[in-house]
């Protein structure tokens, strides 16, 4: 039995019944990576192969070494997990798939990493992404693109494409990604896995190398809804090191894994079911709606009137924050430094310019320029400030709908995975693939993508479930009920 193809909860059962060991599970994952990652290229760094990582064979589980003497508690997972390359792991290169962070090794663990290690998790590798999370295809990585396990000529989505592809391709049991405008959900949708963006503030951002501070969240990418609930439970919770993390208790999300949606009102925003939505995607969503209706859910049309402003608002607010967050990459303390031989007088500015020119990719530069412009004197009121005000309107739209509905259902993406290279020269077209996911980040609400079918060409389709702040339990409930009825997660890719 190929352990790497199982879900986390299946493996936990096996571990509990002593039918397997953490080492065997980790071995299986590492073997899978060895076998297939040449083709998928989901990983940028694998524990076994990198000098910075400790070996896994025959020795004490890495959890102990990483915990530095702390004894893991009884409810241990001891499962291998894969981490997107923008989450700090002490002592391991963490580069955000950017040349400018070449050689950077954080001196501390991100809070989510500490929580995973305390729960006994083992970090098996770091996954590919769009540079600094700027992208929807994982083509903007300095390491080269990751490929979709379902069709190697297609993108896995982005920016957490590496994590999604690794999970879908059974090169990971489960993984962490980050989502600023859809970067967990859209690749989950493209790769046929479950991806959750928690409520803003649900999971600590301490140690997440920031893209847009008011939009970023770390979240799980998993093979099924149950695993998502398990992983969220481990990483969620207040963190005193993150002023934006919410002091809201973490419920036992697994208690929401019941197949009961009777009487739940689910809204269908009319602004989402429009031109540009792929016919096959639309049909898959409609079929999913029928499945849930059969189980007793009640659907109604709702309106989110400010939807049309979401993409514009996002590309102003997010890029503005990003332009500031990326200012620290200047060649002074860590990472890449280019010092051209110029006059003493201009040496400092030359270092800044040369380093950032060589270190940042095209999309990163594009977004930094956009963001700088949006904040600049004379434009701040017209762009950033106005964008933030429109954001309130977008949030109010959701608040109104959630007064009547327990959740909202939409497609995750207007299309299935596009071909590598198809949209890379058309940034605007690329931006529009986030059209359904972006609003959730702007409003700060939780949202999940769940597999709901395949296109004729065999590419996965995802549906998105949104709920009001801190109502992840509602999302798990609906997602689980749907998943158990439709069983799309049972169809596994073969490579």
């Amino acid at each position: 039995m190929n352990l790497s193809t199982l879900t986390a909860h299946e493996l936990l059962d096996l571990l509990k019944n002593q039918k397997t060991t953490p080492q065997a599970i980790t071995e299986s994952v590492l073997k899978a990576i060895q076998r297939t990652d040449d083709k998928i290229k989901a990983y940028v760094r694998v524990r076994d192969q990198e000098p910075g990582f400790a070996p896994t064979r025959g020795s004490v589980p890495m959890a102990h070494r990483d915990l530095g003497g702390l004894t893991p508690a009884p409810s241990q997972t001891h499962l291998p997990i894969s981490i997107k390359d923008n989450i700090c792991i002490r002592g391991s290169p963490t580069t955000c798939a950017s040349r400018i962070l070449e050689g950077f090794k954080p001196s501390y663990h991100a809070t989510v990493i500490e929580r995973i290690l305390s729960a006994g998790g083992l970090i098996v590798g770091q996954t590919n992404m769009d540079e600094f999370a700027f992208g929807s295809s994982t083509e903007n990585s300095c390491f080269g693109p990751t490929r979709n396990p379902w069709n190697l000529d297609c993108v896995p989505g982005g920016s957490s494409g590496g994590s999604a592809a690794a999970v879908a391709g059974h090169e990971a049991i489960w993984a962490l990604g980050s989502d600023t405008g859809g970067s967990i959900r859209q690749p989950a949708s493209f790769c046929g896995v479950v991806g959750l963006k928690p409520t803003y503030g649900r999971v600590s951002r301490y140690g997440l190398i920031a893209f847009a501070s008011s939009l970023d969240q770390i979240g799980p990418l998993t093979k099924d809804v149950t695993d998502s609930a398990l992983l969220l439970k481990i990483i969620a919770g207040h963190d005193s090191r993150d002023s934006t993390s919410a002091d809201v208790p973490v419920p036992d999300y697994t208690a929401s894994l019941v197949e009961d949606v009777k009487g739940l009102r689910i809204g269908l925003p009319k602004e989402y079911f429009i031109e540009g939505l792929d016919r096959e995607v639309k049909e898959a969503i409609e079929a999913a709606i029928a499945v849930l209706q059969k189980k007793g859910a009640i659907f109604q049309e709702v309106s989110l009137p400010h939807t049309e402003y979401a993409v514009a608002t996002y590309y102003i607010v997010a890029t503005a924050e990003a332009s500031s967050n990326l200012a620290r990459f200047d060649g002074v303390q860590y990472g890449l430094r280019c010092q051209p031989k110029t006059s003493r007088k201009t040496a400092l500015v030359d270092m800044y310019e040369e380093t950032r020119d060589a270190g940042f990719g095209k999309e990163a530069k594009r977004r930094i320029m956009l963001g700088t412009y949006a904040l600049s004197s004379g434009y701040y009121e017209a762009y950033y400030l106005r964008g933030q005000k429109v954001r309130t309107l977008i949030k109010n739209d959701f608040d109104r709908v959630f007064e009547e509905c327990a959740a909202i259902l939409t497609p995750t993406s207007p299309t299935t995975a596009f071909r590598i290279g198809e949209k890379i020269d058309d940034p605007l077209a690329m931006y529009l693939s986030d059209i359904y996911t972006i609003s959730a980040n702007l409003a700060g609400i939780p949202a999940m993508s769940v597999p709901c079918g395949f296109s004729q060409k065999g590419l996965p389709i995802g549906l998105q479930i949104l709920a009001k702040p801190f109502a992840e339990e509602m999302i798990f409930r609906i997602a689980y009920a749907y998943e158990q009825a439709a069983l799309w997660h049972k169809r596994k890719v073969s490579l």
Partner: protein, 478 residues
Amino acid sequence: MSEFEPVIGLEVHLQLKTATKIFCGCPNRFGEEPNTLVCPVCLGLPGSLPVLNQKALVYAIKIALALNCEINPFIKFDRKNYYYPDLPKGYQISQYDLPVGRGGWVLITLNGDRKKILIKRVHLEEDAGKLIHDSQGGCTLVDYNRTGTPLMEIVSEPDLASSQEAYEYLIALKLTFQYLDVSDCDMEKGSLRVDANISLRKKGDSTLGTKTEIKNMNSFRAVKAALDFEADRQKALLTAGERIVPETRLWDDAKGATQPMRSKEEAHDYRYFPEPDLVPFVVSPETVAQIKNQLPELPAQKKERFLKQYQIPEYDARILIQDKDLAGFFENCSTLYSEIKKVSNWLIGPVLQELNARKLALKDLGLKPRDLVHLIQKVDQEILSNLAAKEALRQMLDTGKTIEALVAEQGLTQISDEAALEAVLDEVIQENENAVRQIRQGKESAMGFLVGQAMRKTAGKANPKKIKEMIKRRFVHG
């Protein structure tokens, strides 16, 4: 007199002496090995996040209240974006449009007149690191110990009309901060920094002229000198019909002049926007009231109280409150001794002289209120002359002995016995015929001279009052 008058505004940066930095738990200390008081947050490492030190906010509100500001009920932080090696994040977390306090004022006294200097705003921000230029190695070294130190920025309105007013304003501010115990206020260590803005306008004009900014002044005296220089420089230019270039100039203490900054003048667009990593803070009226109640008596209040309660002159009160410890010492003495004016004289005179000469703070002098009171009482009892008492004070400070011990040891007791003094007076008269002649001619000052000679002969022990009496009896009355 000049047809031009200066218009001056000052920006004061004050490092707050909280135990830890403003956004992280690193110790807030000066003078340690470089880059030892750092962590991912104040180094601005990727993934790090700021968390506000609540104490810093309380200190900020205290300062704002002491400066009579309106406290903003809703405050937030903003990012000020620019590139420099001492700024690890590429932005400084500061406050833009919702600062801690606004619309305050400070009273200064100049030549007996009181003037209200308006304060535009006070806000909290983080300090940057320190650059050390190693010209030998041809490089610049960065020390991040200072990044994240809490800073209070206090911006005055352009209300200061002269360099002297600017000086008084700084004295008044520093005194307030010392009373609040929120900062070391040490310009040499950089815990208090001053930038000045100055322009000139024709007397009677209401429109402001072009201003220049002056930096790199390392003492209040330097601020005054720099403003004087810059006012003269601008006056010369304007009189010659030239324009003032709006620029930043550095004060060169050695040359006694301001020089334009060598770096290219780029207009800084700081692209301020609200800091998304920090949530806004609500400052309730209850919190403000609570902090206000905890404020110590401030310098202006203490001065007024001293005038009323102790009936001492303004001059005295002003000097006593300049040092919180001195004022406290004075009050302590008043509980032990009723002729409080004498205490004031001693403190303002000999004690302050000793403090200056020994370069010590009052708390390190080793003098207690009852020690001073006993000394003064010895003079009251005519056991010591004033002169002898001053010398005794010096000895008390040198040896740590009480005045009783010193008097006993050295037989310091003043000679007031007339019989003993008669002999001394005889000698003095014999040796100073000239002076005697002058006294007979009615010259008062010659009497003082003879008294002085008698004091010399007795090594200060003669009771000068007695000597003078005796001289008068001998020459004036007969």
